[in-house]
């Protein structure tokens, strides 16, 4: 997937150059623009998954894209369960892959 940003001169909503920001994910730095969602930045940089499921260890990334499904949650600056599709980047965020192993029930 490649990013195809609208040139500022043709952007009816924000006709000025975008401020570039960077976020960290799994030891690498990815560039995007201020206000872009974390999911948007990752996808634009060809990162398609940022969560690992508990039971089958399957990769997960964007699913609904509108904040409903919670499939895209990541840990941002130490806070878990942040929806990558909803959080807008301000720059400098440390994004971590979220993976919880399935809990073991402690019956008595």
């Amino acid at each position: 997937m490649t990013a195809s940003a609208v040139p500022p001169a043709h952007d009816a909503i924000r006709p000025r150059p975008a401020t570039e920001v960077e976020i960290q994910f799994e030891g690498r730095t990815y560039g995007g623009v201020l206000g872009q969602s974390i999911a948007g930045i990752l996808l634009a940089n060809d990162v398609l998954d940022w969560r690992t499921t508990s039971a089958r260890q399957s990769p997960r990334g964007l699913f609904c894209g509108i904040g409903v499904c919670f499939d895209c949650v990541v840990t941002v600056d130490g806070i878990p369960d942040v929806r990558a599709c909803q959080r807008r980047a301000r720059g400098g965020e440390h994004v971590e892959r979220q993976h919880f192993s399935l809990p073991t029930m402690r019956g008595h």
Binding site: V73, F100, S101, M105
Partner: protein, 393 residues
């Protein structure tokens, strides 16, 4: 013997499973989807801890032995590819914050012990050993090893899958519109739906909160009322809640007949890692809008119980109707006005837990054998229901 069961929630599914296993020819009629009502909008509680000594506790104690047995049978029958029932005999911990509430809780637990329930009094230190993330501000706790949990929609599907394998038919999106009657008009000989006729030797009304509506269609009104309850769901997380944990207000809320809002914290983890947070009771008819005030009240009480929840997101909220009886006992058994009609409904928030034993009682009544416990307290013509029955008619 042909039986028509109306309703494909947990009670209808349990009836279908138990009756087909005993050789009955069963058809389940469901106007919506399987487990589309109360059974998919609850928590899957199998509790003895919240029951006052009496007939309902007797049912719950019996149910606590029935679930592990049926869960094992279903697993053997349906195989490993069928989703797990997530039957967890995890035990329940009830806590009180104040000395007054602690006294009430301990007195209540003592009456349950006398009725044969295992209930262990816990100091705050002992309670915190069971639940390390619990608020240290609690005054006392009572631990009930007999409390358990099940994934309710999987349980419904599993019971119906098993019933189908034994020959039952399950017809969804088919609405019952009335009874078929004999020439005299006195006796029911089947039901009519929007798609056809189903002759039957007995009709079972297992429509949960909608059982009143179904009963009226069949000419035998029953005073079942909907009571709305809401549940909050967190994203999955490493386990920090290991039992069913609730504050002692819950018992008062389940036993109350008050139409006004009542909330209490009921917190538990699921096998998937999410945390379910209940609960509320409110009589608002069939108005299923979610209410922000209720959500915030439940959340505040849950945070009091488990302070770490303050930093946890709520991923979803859902609500559902519980089938409420004005005298707080389910109805299990024949209708004394219209024959051969049976009702199995009115379990309020205990329907998942009590479904199987209710179906066992129904089976005993249909096959004229001895029920696993005396069904008289659950009879539709019991004294405590008489004024409400008159009102419903």
């Amino acid at each position: 013997m042909r039986i028509v069961v109306i309703g494909a929630g947990i009670v209808g599914a349990a009836c279908a499973h138990v009756l087909t296993s005993a050789g009955f020819d069963v058809t389940v009629l469901e106007r919506g989807a399987v487990a589309g009502g109360t059974s998919s909008s609850c928590e899957g509680n199998l509790l003895v801890s919240d029951k006052t000594p009496g007939p309902e506790l007797d049912l719950a104690v019996l149910a606590a032995t029935r679930w592990p047995q049926v869960a094992g049978e279903l697993k053997d029958q349906l195989g490993d590819t069928f989703p797990s029932l997530e039957y967890e005999p995890k035990g329940g911990l009830v806590v009180a914050y104040t000395a007054t509430a602690a006294d009430a809780l301990l007195t209540f637990a003592e009456t349950q012990r006398q009725a044969g329930v295992e209930a262990q009094t816990m100091t705050p230190r002992e309670a915190l050993r069971l639940e390390p993330h619990l608020s240290p501000r609690i005054a006392t706790g009572v631990y009930y090893p007999g409390d358990a949990q099940v994934q309710p929609t999987v349980a419904v599907e599993a019971l119906l899958a098993s019933a189908r394998m034994a020959g039952a038919r399950v017809r969804t999106r088919e609405r019952v519109i009335g009874a078929m009657r004999d020439a005299t008009g006195a006796r029911i000989v089947g039901v009519r739906t929007d798609r056809g006729h189903y002759p039957a030797d007995a009709v079972v009304n297992a429509a949960g909160p909608w059982a009143g509506e179904v009963a009226t269609l069949l000419g035998a009104p029953v005073p079942v009322l909907p009571r709305f309850g809401m549940v909050l769901v967190t994203p999955r997380m490493p386990h920090r809640v290991f039992h069913k944990v609730y504050d002692a207000d819950y018992v008062g809320a389940t036993q109350s007949g008050d139409a006004d809002l009542q909330t209490s914290a009921v917190v538990e983890s699921t096998a998937a890692g999410t945390v379910l947070i209940g609960s509320s009771r409110q009589r608002v008819g069939f108005d299923d809008r979610l209410r922000a005030r209720v959500i915030s009240e439940i959340a505040a009480k849950a945070i009091a119980l488990f302070p770490f929840l303050e930093h946890t997101m709520v991923m979803r909220t859902y609500g559902g109707f519980r089938p409420y009886m004005p005298d707080h006992l389910p109805v299990i058994g024949p209708d004394h006005r219209v024959s051969p009609l049976y009702h199995v409904t009115g379990h309020e928030g205990a329907g998942i837990g009590l479904s199987l034993v209710s179906a066992d009682i129904l089976l005993a009544q249909l096959s004229q054998t001895t029920a696993p416990l005396d069904p008289a307290p659950f009879a539709l013509d019991r004294a405590s229901l008489a004024p409400h029955l008159k009102e419903a008619a």
